[in-house]
Assembly symmetry: D2
Homo-oligomer: 305 residues x 4
């Protein structure tokens, strides 16, 4: 525990001009700027090592498992037998790590726009990637994810969008639009799934609602869910779209059977036996989703503070 | 939305010396000190009006419904027919408000140690109590909750402990001990229930685990659950103890039927149809609960930062 | 001394987006909004009670004497025999207090635009005004200072401009222009003097330089000086303009003789024996003043962050 | 100028639990820990590059000239013909730089305990040392300054103590005691001088007073003075002790003549023509110095927060 008087290096993330979070860095492992963004890797004595991009907390050792398990497993268990998986973004390599846990996976393609971030994470955050970049099933491509999808001839069982928030002027805004999801669908196989983070359901409820709406205009089955991630403060939204099964229709027994077959065990947050209940959204969130009519399009994409 | 340059009144809550939350006050409605604690009522443009006691965020207009619904309903729906309910603490009057929604309730006794806080909330936070203090079923007693329990001849169907965290040196530490729960049990009727907040399951997982453990040593059925409350940052724990039904054994159908009979509708967070699933704790929390062997006793009570 | 864990009410003043000062309020005595500005009176255990206007620290009990002595005495000692003195602004009443120390003063007119601020200071900051508002020589006028000067038939020996910084969009910007100083000059008697605060010589060196330049275009003798005021962080600039003597030409002996005659003693910061040396500006400030060519005009007034 | 939303790396220096300063780092050039202390070199867009030791701002490009000129020149001009100069501390090399400006100096010995800090400054702060470490007159010794003084056979014309504040438990506390100054005196030649920083005259007035008192118990002539250094917030104190001339007795003309002979020109803060007037302390500081009776001894040294 940092002593108070020596707590002087602060990383402050504002969620709006009205509230923010202070994270004291007991150590700064890396601080610099890539072609795309500011990158900091700091140690916080509550959260462990943290990756910070453009001043936004991306993941911390103490709670990244919540984010990464919840991005990956609801989608892949819904799909049931993922062989070829595409990750858009995912710099830390932790989404990749979760994907590689599936015995069925034979190929995991990760396309991240910022090769420098990937290298920095590879060096400073081995606890996150746990060697996943060296797995023979992994292909790492440094490129714009959308461009990759447009140009690739491959098809996938699942596409996992592990991107930064759609900040105005930021590189990720076009990863949450109708046009993007149509592109994703065109590269998905039968029964394919897509999952994306959906920003805060508290601070950005209408953005979350819009992302759900947008995905619903492209995929026959869509499930929204949330999980509380302390370093993100509020409940965090996720959305899964499916060409096959409805994500919420997988029973606990079925999910457990699938997990077993796929060789999965030792979860820290996701649990097959709770699978369908994750898709319960509390009434106040559900109402916002129901009220939201707009979709996010390239010409007018969603954005958050 | 506060303009950045005019954002100068900050309320900063530290969860540890390593992390905290900044809440900008666009207005300070009240700031003072009672016999027991510092009291501030401020307006934050993300959270709405907030009650702050000794620098700890207690409740905000934007998310208090999560806390108060989740403290009250899992317990009272488990009990099934609450007539006489005791609230220990609960200064804002919002727990009282939720209790009074039950058609079956004929008497709601609220015992709060700090009459000044109650008066301040009554004046500045009408949106929270919504006139509950004027309900003919309400009895407000300004006294130490534990002393009241020791001296009262009454018995109750439910006791709801809506107290501040067990801070070292603070007045609430003895509201989380074996001795206290035994006192509560002695005033409960058959099938009676008790519910308490249980601090953060992230920042204070071992305290939450200890509170569960402590309650298990006194009540035959205990259920722990959590809900994400943005102004508290992380998932917040709650614990319900029951002399009758096991809280997690109430099926969605049964909970819905009970809610209907009791005249409840229009929930914002709690939902009868999800009742048993709230008691799912993610593996990482469950493990901490399983590992914890200690109980909280008067001579060595739990405490948090 | 506030204990660290209970230090949660912060007043944060930003001097730019890159640096600011945190002042912990152990008590908030008043917080509200007048017709013109946000007003807070807080207690800080380093600075004592502080007046904060629109988030800017105006004066604190621990160091207000530096500001008020340095605004008043260099000018009035230069004038030598002030009888009628006009204060523009000066809400706390501390400039008034310093003026009333002069045995020669028979009339002190204070014109402040914000009557609410004056009343709040009168109630909460008696240590600052020390009853000056009740002095029979005092006339308090709630009005726009510039309008007052335009309309008054009176003339004065000294005009002391104790206004907030020339913030963009703020009410004080037109109190630092050629037009304003010409208006002041027109109401000054022979040998009359004017003094104004001149913002930070570090953060706003070019503003300070511009104010000096502007005053030089209207008054034959101008002296700039600075004093370090901890609650303002950096050296603070002041400018005195004189129709009679050059401020820096008053020798220590002459200043001491004048002070004696005028009945002054017991200074805490200003000292007659150091009078001419205050007008020494360090080379780095002097160079900025020399380089600055612009003057501040109504149509394009100076401003600070 | 950092944009507000991207201002997330803060360096926060607390002067007490009640007030502190926020400095936003637009870039972190270095962050690490030496054997003795935490070291950060950050860029702030108001102050330029800054050296931070154990969370305390040591010097910034924008205002280090105030500190370093005021530490060196009042003492060396008082001595009048410095040939051999010892610097105790002075990691950045800026005190060394000022010393080497003297045509008379033939040997400048800098003894700093933390060789890593010196190397880091050498690499990241060339604007401060300006190659001084490569000057043939420079001898850099990595050692404890007090130990060096005890063991050296050399004598000096001036000893400049450029050390961190006497923080409890810190390495500099024994550089402000009677025993230390006696050691210094024993290594000084006839007419020798010593100068030291003296902490804040506002926040630590009694420490400043104690240092003056302590030096007076060892040296026949002692002068205290202060200068406002924005990155230190308040007026900063310095103390010079002299075996020859009284520092305040050097007239402006004499100081100017000496500076000319010694080849000095182009000052940014210190100015020979103002030499004696620096030693004016405002009455409120002077009174504290007069009231202070204690001296700082090894067994009970002064300390600051």
């Amino acid at each position: 525990m940092t002593s108070w008087k020596s707590s002087y290096r602060w990383v402050v993330e504002w969620h709006s001009p009205d509230s923010g979070i202070i994270s004291v860095a007991s150590e700064i492992l890396y601080s610099g700027r890539t072609k795309y963004q500011e990158v900091d890797i700091v140690r916080n004595d509550d959260y462990g090592k943290m990756l910070v991009l453009d001043g936004k907390f991306q993941s911390s050792l103490s709670d990244e498992f919540i984010y990464h398990e919840m991005l990956v497993h609801p989608a892949l268990i819904t799909q049931g037998n993922p062989r070829d998986v595409l990750i858009v973004g995912g710099g830390e390599g932790a989404t990749l790590r979760e994907v590689l846990r599936y015995r069925s996976v034979r190929r995991a393609v990760m396309v991240d726009i910022d090769g420098e971030v990937v290298e920095i994470c590879r060096k400073y955050l081995p606890e996150m990637h746990q060697g996943s970049f060296d797995d023979p099933r992994t292909t790492l491509i440094i490129d714009d994810g959308r461009k990759f999808l447009r140009e690739t001839k491959e098809s996938f069982d699942a596409v996992l969008v592990d991107a930064t928030d759609p900040i105005e002027g930021g590189p990720s805004r076009l990863l949450y639009t109708v046009e993007f999801y149509e592109l994703v669908r065109s590269r998905l196989r039968e029964n394919g799934v897509v999952a994306t983070q959906g920003t805060s359901t508290f601070y950005n409820a209408s953005t979350f609602a819009r992302v759900m709406n947008t995905m619903r205009s492209v995929f026959p089955h869509v499930g929204g869910y949330q999980a509380s991630i302390p370093s993100y403060i509020s409940d965090w939204g996720f959305v899964v779209g499916s060409l096959g099964r409805d994500p919420a229709s997988i029973s606990p027994e079925e999910a457990e059977a699938r997990a077993r077959e796929l060789g999965l065990s030792e979860f820290k947050y996701y649990e097959p036996s709770h699978h369908p209940y994750y898709f319960w959204l509390p009434p106040h969130v559900r109402r916002k989703v129901e009220e939201e009519k707009g979709v996010s399009r390239d010409e007018e994409p969603v954005s958050v503070y």
